[in-house]
């Protein structure tokens, strides 16, 4: 019995060696995890000898791991800073993959329709300067809505996250007060409010507390049917976040050569102002040439076939000019 078990084990080991699967490892952002997961699965179905493994440990972790060389590629919701790039031993190319947006979700007793937020109103609420729902700053933009005389409770993220980065980046652009006192980052010192862990924590707080407002990913709000408001963009139009308005945000901004760009508060009359790319961090000179070639092949697949799969999961696809720019950059900069 033991002998036949040993024989079986040897055969199993040999057989698995014969299949010679190549495995790529990546780690990073949590926001695009559902779409990456689907892409890697689809790619594996088409190339059965290639397996790409992704761990959503967070953008900070993704940046650290790709710098240390422990993973073949990283992923981040926020681009690396100049200092991080200077300090990194591994040179990476930022490859935008999809677009996401952040929406202001609320729970106002007696109000079921859409509330319009001006940039000043949002900044004032999150700074703690606007404390009641029937404050003039909010009611002036919502003439037909019966906003109650209720205190505003702010809900924000307690964990560091790309969602916070996008939202605070937007607030820093539209409010000098915010920029000086709080600033932007994956984790900031919030002037007011209670912290919830993850999108689900913030959504939970919003649902439970009457009179609360918080910021969550669009996908989360859509899938969980949480009411969210529209935000006034730089052309003074009130835009409600959707896949189209998110892609429109990327169209209006000039893309730099290294793809590190912020598209919050962009020009464009249909653009939603609180949107962002999410990036894959691809080493330009990979240590393993075979894996580098496979990764390059995957990136081209992602930019062609992969972009058609995004809408089903409520991610906005990249604009076509960005796709063309990326293909050129990958061909030129990523070896082999």
């Amino acid at each position: 019995m033991i002998r036949s078990f040993r024989v079986l084990l040897c055969i199993a080991v040999l057989v698995s060696c014969a299949f010679a699967q190549t495995r790529l490892n990546g780690a990073g952002a949590t926001f695009p995890y559902p779409i990456y997961s689907k892409w890697f699965n689809e790619y594996h179905n088409q190339h059965s000898d290639i397996e790409i493994n992704y761990q959503s440990i967070g953008s900070g972790g993704g940046i650290r791991q790709v710098q240390a060389g422990t993973v073949d590629f990283g992923a981040s919701d926020g681009p690396m800073t100049d200092q991080q790039i200077a300090e990194s031993k591994v040179k990476v190319l930022h490859v935008p993959t999809v677009l996401g947006s952040v929406v202001p979700a609320y729970n106002i007793p007696g109000v079921s329709g859409e509330v319009k937020f001006t940039p000043d109103a949002l900044a004032g609420i999150f700074l703690g300067k606007i404390t009641k729902w029937n404050d003039k700053a909010i009611t002036s933009a919502n003439p037909g809505v019966n906003l109650p005389d209720q205190s505003i409770t702010v809900a924000h993220r307690s964990d560091g996250s790309g969602t916070t980065y996008i939202f605070t980046d937007y607030l820093s652009k539209v409010s000098p007060d915010w920029k000086n006192n709080v600033g932007k980052g994956t984790s900031v010192k919030w002037p007011v409010g209670i912290g919830g862990k993850g999108n689900e924590g913030v959504a939970g707080s919003i649902r439970q507390l009457p009179g609360s407002i918080g910021y969550i990913e669009l996908i989360y709000a859509l899938q969980n049917k949480i009411p969210y408001g529209s935000v006034q963009n730089s052309s003074k139009n009130f835009i409600k976040a959707s896949l189209d308005s998110t892609t429109a945000a990327a169209v209006g901004v000039k893309m730099p050569a290294d793809f590190r760009v912020s598209i919050t508060n962009p020009p464009g009359k249909d653009a939603y102002p609180i949107a962002s790319f999410t990036w894959l961090l691809v080493p330009t000179s990979p240590t393993d040439a075979n894996k580098g070639k496979i990764l390059k092949d995957y990136l081209f697949w992602m930019l062609d076939k992969g972009q058609t799969m995004t809408q089903a999961l409520s991610y906005a696809p990249l604009p076509s000019q960005v796709v063309e720019m990326e293909k050129a950059a990958i061909t030129k900069q990523v070896k082999p």
């Binding site: 440990i57 967070g58 953008s59 900070g60 972790g61 940046i63 650290r64 800073t81 991080q84 205190s151 409770t153 307690s158 964990d159 560091g160 996250s161 709080v182 600033g183 932007k184 980052g185 994956t186 984790s187 900031v188 010192k189 919030w190 409010g193 209670i194 912290g195 919830g196 862990k197 924590g201 939970g204 707080s205 439970q208 507390l209």
Partner: protein
Amino acid sequence: MSDSVDPMNPTEPLGKLQKPATAIPSMAQVSKERRTAASTVLQKIRTSHPRASRIPDTVFAVIILLSAISVFAIVVLVAWQLIDKSRLSLHQFGIGFFYGHDWDPVAGSFGAMPFIYGTLVSSFLALLMAVPLSIGVAVYVTEMCPQRLRAIISFLVELLAAIPSVIYGLWGIFVLAPLLREYVEPFLARTLGWTGLFTGPMYGLGMLAAGIIMAIMVVPVIASITREVMTAVPQNQREAVLALGATRWEMIRMGVLRNARIGIVGGVILGLGRALGETMAVTMVIGNRPEIAKSLFAPGYTMASVIANEFTEATGDLYLSALVEIGLALFIVTLIVNALARLLVWSITGGTARVRA
């Protein structure tokens, strides 16, 4: 022992007192006999076995010694790693880190005081609620419960310990927080609001919710240890107190609880240890706001929560090392609290010699 006269085994004859025929050997005599018997056996083993068989004995002794040292070594290693990885932050902020109030990742300014405060207050609040409850449960189960209910109740109490802390967190968000917000907090604000502990906006989430959840998690720990210690009190203690005319409550208080108090304190220390380190359930209900507020309705933040929340996304070496230094602060707080509790036990028992656990 040589200068005290033992009436059962006198070294000098007390007048005409003869040793009774059926003399009961004294404790000293018995233990001396046992020791000589043991050493005789050991001598026989040593002389009869060849030298080579002493090597397994020595190896065994060394392995056991290494196991004992490894526990100590792990603690030292943990402390060393904490200090090493937080070196940047230690250098930058010095001792001021432990009483700084600011936690600003963007500006690079970090201080641990709100977290230390949050951890200590939530843990002590939990203990305040859990200790009377657990002792009550233990007293009921050991002394007053009908025999057939005993097993069921103790099983249910221990079941509380088996529930994962994330489930407690979810229960806290969806059941406890609305309950607190709608009924309990307005009631407390109306009746006890003058103390300043129950004022301010009522979110449901906050220090009070965290304290209640931690109390529920700590009750099975303290209750089961208290129950064991109370069961270990010999029956003759209870009977002696009853024989002196005590009521049932007096019997429990004087006969049982007084004898079991060292064990109860040990159980409370264990419960406190669990409360100090609890992460998931706390971070889901405490509101995660690094501020020190007098009111229990206000949100707070604990050391374990901030590490769990911010560690994965922490970019920047100073930020990371500040978080590790929070871990170091938690380590030190746990050590200090345990040391203080141990000192308390020693002061009750009157010295280190009688420490049991």
